[in-house]
Amino acid sequence: MKLRASYNRHREFLTTFMIVMAVLIIVPMFIMREFAMNVLILCTIWSIMGIGWNIIGGYAGQISNGHALFYAIGAYVGAMTMKWFQMTPWISMWIGVLLSMVIAFVIGTPLLRLRDHYFAISTMALVECTRIIFLNWKLIGAATGVSFFYKKLPTWYSWQFANKHPFYYISLGFMALCIILTKAIESSKFGYYCRAIKANQESAESSGIDAAKYKRRAYMISAAVVSVGGALHAQYLQYIDPAVLLPLSNSMLIVLVCVMGGVGTVWGPVLGAFLMITINEYARSFFVQFSGLNLVIYGILVIFIVLFLPKGLISLVKKDTLINISRKLMKKLRATS
């Protein structure tokens, strides 16, 4: 009974979710080109990061330009545990999540008091600090980085597969979880409070919202999600160093995929990531001989989206389009049977 009710509440989301997942699960089964799979994997990973950022940046409206920090933490925890104890990512990932939540809590307390640009810049500065520290931290390989490439370990244990599909499905799984998490947040009290804070902090506080607390909580959750993305990416690259993980461009890309898709929406980051990453990867392979052209195109694309679709690509997709599509399909099926 209760289930039914909640199904009705979220009918649109659930159908969309089902369809999208079905597509993302079935289609790759017929993709035999490793490079295409590689792109897909990057898409899923970056959507996870986008989703993570979306929670603090999209819902709670605190524009962080320093989420590469949690990406790096996730990645490093994964890498180091693998290198030291050959620990499986299935577990080490959660250590990373916990660690980044703790760190988010600690730094969130002072930094979240800052308003928009100040917050953005101080998070950037924070990433810069982390970069310098990691570059010189002997224990975690300093600038030499960490490569963890184990042929010996069982593949499902180490996530180091001979071909791409298993890894793709793993990261897709996590992406699905993150989507559900976002939806849950969106339709929860917490979600409403975040949006209230984003909309108008003062009146939010005067209507009984402990802004500081909720902002911090949002920051922690988003840190956790991003670090999951980081862990996945590290396992995929099998080599990480501070120069890979912590340049400004990474923090910006995390924001970018989210904004291109549409901030403060469940599907925005996913859409954004899949589009931007695919375009980026293929543009690079097409225009590689004119060095830089691909990035020029990418940049122009971003400018156009920002100017003409300020609400992101998601605003192109009409409400419950997919439902209607599915309905039509159903009709067709009935007709045929």
Partner: protein
């Protein structure tokens, strides 16, 4: 019934500037208290001190028998003090209903229950037709009602209304007055700032007059209007004691 709100020698300085000085008054539970005074008399400052938007320099705020002088805004709200702003502070990019729900969630953890409650409230403040419109699309009057609704949704014991009537025309004003009466009828104490005297006189049992940061006097409407100082203060303040 005892005093729901008690303000003891509330004093607020901004740097050297004295915004409020040594203001004391009480608001009986279930009553409607009006605060009047010319612009810049420090009415809103007093409000902000009561709702803890900014700290007092000295003095005390006793709400419902509890000293809330050191509490944070969201805490006093939880204790049952709702407020509106002179310039409406709607959550622009959320829908009307969602705005009210945010208020309702203050004492409810279930979104569903909050939604039910919000629907009732928006019905009560006849906003229901705008339920799914974004707050930014409402006009000033509607926004002000929305603010009242949001405050009400938090089931307050005391409601602080800051210049709810300003800029409303005759009919709107009477509607608003009726609304206030309706709210008060549900046993909610109301403390309202107005400088449209007539409104205050018509609804409130007690009126506190503040002039240049000090309490000039308090009493029932008739006493106030008949008090020469008040009239003088208003005229001195370049304002018309009668009603615009």
């Amino acid at each position: 019934m005892g005093a729901l709100l008690e303000v003891r020698n509330a004093t607020k300085y901004f740097g050297g500037l004295k915004a409020n000085e040594d203001i004391s008054f009480e608001a009986e539970a279930g009553s409607i208290v009006g605060i009047v005074g010319p612009n810049g008399a420090g009415k809103t400052t007093l409000f902000n001190s009561i709702s803890r938007t900014h700290p007092l320099t000295s003095g005390q705020i006793i709400f419902n028998g509890e000293d809330v002088t050191k509490r944070k805004p969201f805490e006093v709200c939880k204790l049952g003090m709702g407020r509106t702003y002179q310039i409406p502070q709607a959550m622009e990019d959320m829908t009307t209903l969602e705005n009210i729900m945010v208020g309702a969630l203050c004492h409810r953890s279930s979104v569903k229950a909050a939604e039910e409650r919000a629907k009732e409230i928006s019905e009560f403040c006849d906003l229901s037709e705008f339920n799914n419109a974004t707050a930014s699309s409402l006009n000033v009057m509607q926004k002000k009602r929305l603010e009242i609704a949001r405050a009400l949704a938090g089931d307050p014991k005391l409601l602080l209304l800051d210049e709810t009537m300003a800029g409303l025309n005759g009919i709107e004003r009477t509607n608003a007055i009726n609304l206030i009466r309706k709210i008060n009828a549900n046993g909610i104490t109301i403390l309202m700032i107005e400088h449209v005297m007539k409104v205050v006189m018509s609804v409130s049992e007690k009126v506190v007059v503040i002039v240049s940061g000090r309490k000039l006097m308090e009493g029932n409407p008739n006493e106030v209007t008949s008090n020469p100082e008040v009239i003088n203060a208003y005229l001195g303040g370049g304002h018309n004691a009668g009603c615009q």
